[in-house]
Subunit: 237 residues, 2 copies
């Protein structure tokens, strides 16, 4: 449990101190707002189970889905600097959370060097992901983005030890579209296309990955497309 909630890699005694001092748990249900954009920053959160989405209303008034938070993942670190949250966070299904008060966490970290190092590592990891992964998916086609999204979810489930060849998407097509900056219609069309290529099976919000190598090909290599299309002409016609 401490592994889920605080993947901090601390020494045993330090973990105990951390949990006793700064951690509380809470349960949220689909649609519950956990954090409101612009609210004062007091806590960081860790997802123990369930899934959340972070959304932001931009300067032009449009809402964007920034990310989805899976079990074992943290959110809120971006708000340390500004002192307020840059996103709203909402539960997509039933979610169990850890909450850590940042002021207590910071105080404790000045006493525990391993905690301090770990905090810097966590921030840096988020920074790395947000700067590097963003670029890796930047100029991709809609097809590559969606394939990358499904594969990314798969990888994150696997990394947490879940058997993830099939999983539930608790978010709407519109949420996925907003996250990838595509139109919901495009998501629909591409999911169907992937299914026709036998790469995935999609039944409402349940995804099953039928051909992982093909999915990985879709992410990186546009060239696959033609050959798969040829293979499937017979089946579709």
């Amino acid at each position: 449990m401490s592994d889920l909630c605080l993947p901090l890699g601390l020494e045993q005694g330090d973990i105990a101190q951390l949990e006793q001092i700064v951690t509380t748990s809470s349960v949220k249900h689909a649609g519950d707002v956990i954090v409101r954009q612009g609210a004062e920053f007091t806590r960081i959160f860790a997802v123990k189970s369930g899934m959340c989405k972070s959304t932001r209303v931009d300067l032009a008034g449009n809402e964007h889905v920034q990310n989805f938070h899976l079990p074992g993942e943290l959110f809120g670190l971006h708000a340390i600097y500004a002192g307020k949250y840059g996103f709203s966070v909402e539960a997509l299904n039933t979610v169990v959370l850890c909450e850590l008060k940042y002021d207590e966490l910071q105080k404790l970290s000045s006493e525990l060097p391993s905690l301090q190092r770990q905090l810097l590592n966590l921030l840096s990891r988020d920074l790395y992901h947000s700067q590097v992964n963003a670029l890796d998916h930047f100029d991709q086609s809609a097809e590559q983005k969606l394939a990358g999204f499904i594969h990314n979810l798969y990888s994150r489930f696997v990394a947490r030890g879940y058997e993830a060849s099939s999983f539930h998407l608790p978010m709407s097509r519109k949420d996925i579209a907003s996250h990838l900056e595509l139109a919901p219609e495009t998501i629909s069309r591409l999911l169907k296309k992937f299914q026709q290529k036998q790469v995935i099976q999609i039944d409402n919000r349940l995804v099953e990955i039928k051909d992982l190598p093909a999915l990985e090909q879709l992410v990186h290599c546009h060239a696959l497309e033609a050959s798969v299309d040829v293979q499937n002409i017979g089946k579709l016609a």
Copy 2:
């Protein structure tokens, strides 16, 4: 100078310690590589003068310009977690840099609470920018992106105390295009369009902002376009 190189907001004595222990300076020239993608992480850098660009070769082998680094800005913090740099950094013109060895910085920060806090703040600030600003510019049109880019450069120059109503762009159109994920031809066409609208004056790589409110309108509001177009039909015909 310490203000430029280390905008850390530390107490006086702490600044002195930091500078003496971990800081060295170096000068680079246009085209010099400062950091190579994938190289072992040892240092973070601060730009004292000049401009750099961070680039990354993605998994598909395409190079992207991640960001440009202006005087007073840091780079390298993303690499703490992975232990290696995710980007190559190259000087765009003559650049003076501060270099800080991270292991020494970390050691010092466990002795200086204000430095520790400041490190967390800096990481969080980068994270905030990379997560929030990325979203704010995500689904914008090419026009909004480019206007936003010019306005962002302007703001960063102003924040550092420069008189920035006109400034030099040391990067190529191709670099700008790559940074905004547009084609270089699109950059050319839009710069010309902005000039025709009398929003900026562009002469090769020198930009002059002629109408700041109009530029800000371009960033946020697509509606302006029509009216400006109408105003300029006479002039263009």
